[in-house]
Amino acid sequence: MKRRIRILIAKPGLDGHDRGAKFVARSLRDAGAEIIYTGIRQTPEAIAAAAVQEDVDFLGLSCLSGAHNRLFPEVVKLVRELGGQDIVVFGGGVIPKRDWPGLNEAGIRFIFGPGTPMSDVIAVIRENAPADAELAP
């Protein structure tokens, strides 16, 4: 039997609500993943430490404030410094298409624009999970 995929859903920066992030967390839970949820207003340092301590397979970052170009790469850098080499980082929120290439370059492997169906997110997670991990069988 395979183990369950573990995912940290985190919100760096100062934006004040997390309805979207919570929705993603619940949907992924219902797809069978173990989600660690840390709430709003997280520093990149706190997110990176949580991702490594929790030994997650994926780290999903959500940002609505527009500071993603600074915050997301910072989180990736800190995660790698702490030894989280294999953690797949993805991003969501309101991120203009023109910022996608730069973020990809900085190690944010997947970006989901507003209105992305959850089934797309789940498919990406399924396809990029470690060989010994799965969502609900």
Partner: protein
């Protein structure tokens, strides 16, 4: 890629966060190499204190763990936290949200927080909670705080893992009164009446004291504390209470002996759990198991009895 247990153990001792985190996953998920790693962890004599926190959902267990952590951090101690939340019975997934209340310590390398899903276990902990706490102890975290799931009435697992169990009760909560009645009080060594800023806390205090006196504890005052975890109020008193409780217990040698015994029981428990799972799976596939039934407890007991009979009479 098979990890080298010796290298992992060295990483744990060197307090490398990634090594500690991976070692926990290997044992919790039974990834390749988990047995030898478990052996290495089991050989380590433990000196760290394991503090269990149990109580109904929303009573403030995570907030209290956070406040207790602040207290010990002020004394420059490194603190480990293992927090268990329930797995969904439908998808097997889980939302582990205890970190939400532990923000004060996010990013502090001297606080290691690990969230775990109960994965169908009923005793209030996840299958590898004790082992996770032991790994954190090996990495020099002391104390290690263990937060139970907090659903159901019989979160007895934590008794076999923790050196001291805090039972959190809150005013105006039917569950707390229920706990007093149902004999769940036996799980707690100390009683933390949290949310003392809310009405009814003094009444709860009187009720708990009365219940403890009834059960023959004349010295109950030293075991009951009022706290406001959100503000850290009453937390130093709880910490003093923990020390007093542990000190009053036994000599260090006796403590070590009882720890060894508990560790052994835990391991046997783990093995029994695994073997039972396997055997039950075989029973279901054997064609002897009932394929339908009600949802009542008595029905479940009937099926379980059939399973045990089948085990006894099974060839080989």
């Amino acid at each position: 890629m098979q990890p080298d247990p010796e290298m992992l153990v060295r990483g744990i001792r060197d307090r490398n966060q990634q090594a500690v985190a991976r070692a926990i996953s290997i044992i919790a998920d039974r990834r390749p190499g988990w047995e030898s790693l478990l052996d290495a962890v089991g050989k380590e004599p433990r000196t760290a204190t394991f503090i269990g926190i149990t109580g109904a959902p929303g009573s403030g267990k995570s907030t209290l763990a956070d406040a207790i952590t602040s207290f010990y951090r002020a004394g420059n101690r490194r603190v480990g936290i293992v927090a268990v939340d329930p797995s969904s019975p439908f998808s097997g997934g889980a939302i582990l949200g205890d970190r939400l209340r532990m923000q004060d310590h996010a990013g502090d390398p001297d606080v290691f927080i690990r969230s775990m899903a109960s994965r169908g276990r009923l005793g209030g902990l996840a299958p590898a909670t004790a082992e996770t706490a032991a790994i954190l102890a090996m990495a020099g975290y002391d104390p290690v705080i263990i937060e139970t799931v907090g659903v159901g009435q019989s979160e007895v697992d934590v008794m076999s893992v923790a050196d001291v169990v805090l039972m959190v009760l809150v005013p105006g909560n039917g569950d707390s009164i229920q706990a007093l009645k149902a004999g769940v009080m036996e799980i707690g060594d100390l009683f933390v009446l949290n949310q003392a800023d809310r009405p009814g806390s003094d009444r709860l205090l009187a009720e708990v004291n009365a219940a403890l006196r009834l059960s023959g504890d004349e010295d109950c005052l030293s075991r009951v504390f009022q706290t406001v975890a959100t503000e850290g109020r009453g937390v130093p008193e709880v910490a003093t209470g923990i020390d007093a409780f542990l000190g009053s217990l036994q000599s260090d040698a006796e403590k070590a002996a009882s720890r060894r015994e508990r560790q052994f029981l835990r391991l046997v428990n783990l093995a029994v759990h695994d073997m039972t799972d396997e055997a039950f799976e075989a029973y279901r596939k054997s064609g002897c198991a009932p394929t339908e039934g009600g949802t009542s407890w008595s029905e479940a007991v009937r099926v379980a009895t059939g399973f045990l009979d089948w085990l006894r009479t099974r060839p080989n």
